[in-house]
Symmetry: C2
Subunit: 204 residues, 2 copies
Amino acid sequence: MVKKPVPDATRRSEKSRRAIYDAALALVAEVGYPKTTIEGIAARAGVGKQTIYRWWPSKADVLLEAFLDLGEQAARQAGQVPYEIPDTGDLAADLKAVLRATVDELLDPRFEAPSRALAAEGLVNEQLSREFVAKLLEPQLQLYVNRLRAAQATGAVRPDVDPRIALELFVSPLAQRWLQRTAPITYAYTDTLVDYALYGLAPR
Amino acid sequence: MVKKPVPDATRRSEKSRRAIYDAALALVAEVGYPKTTIEGIAARAGVGKQTIYRWWPSKADVLLEAFLDLGEQAARQAGQVPYEIPDTGDLAADLKAVLRATVDELLDPRFEAPSRALAAEGLVNEQLSREFVAKLLEPQLQLYVNRLRAAQATGAVRPDVDPRIALELFVSPLAQRWLQRTAPITYAYTDTLVDYALYGLAPR
């Protein structure tokens, strides 16, 4: 029979887990994904590598959870837990608010370097890319799907619009500017994206 | 006084140039940007490395021109030289046609592997990224700016719309799906993006 963990052990293991996340994010930012190893993460976190293997089967899994945790911390700081897109009844205002929070996150140095390193690897590593899209990116995009469906229910979005494509009109431009550094990202920019997407470029 | 090159020498140098482009694109696709070297390109192209240094100061410059050439070849094959977005007077049809051609190019294996390798390096190498955006990506985006400005002149696009932001509503979603493999890219998808961008998600 497995003993119930005592509070001290729980605290120790939470502390190790956080140290491992921090080490994994720092390493991938500094040396890139291919050179990040379980051994390297363990050494930097000050834990044995068996501690890591006990919890995660691979470095991809450690990084996936480290990113999920980073996103949750950011959401908690922004008072957005449980994480969902607000529904005040004003779709444009709600989308602008969540995109402004995303701008803040993308410009946060704690987030930027590890995210770039991981995205760079995803471009050339299809398996990693598909795992991260399925577990990390797509669940975030589904929050927009939910908000757009609610807007369809109230008539703020046309009923024939596919929400999974529609969200890309304001999410993808921000992603591309950040990923490829094509132009600056600002609140004014994301506000404009929302207005153009909702009301269209053609005259009304 | 420099002798005018004789036709044979011109042909030889055109052949070397093409061999160097092919070698550069193949190498970056196979081993990635950091491990691609001028020496490696020269060896694969069957030329001396001084031949490469005579024409280009760095591997980034070789790759930049190799990509420009690849894009020109694709445009020539598609009958789009000089390269500009057609203006038939039907903005939606013109944008759909050019995005369908872009889908074809993104799914072409000759284009895909080197482009991914270069984009991956751009994510973590800000200097390279800025050079490629300035010389390669932004000039392509300006073609959309020109077409949207023409549409503003005829009243097909609202006069208060910023064309440089507006183009991102249909260009960036395609780029993100391709870069991050978030979902398939098809003609139906890009057609839908154009319709949503022009007419908006909100009811008219």
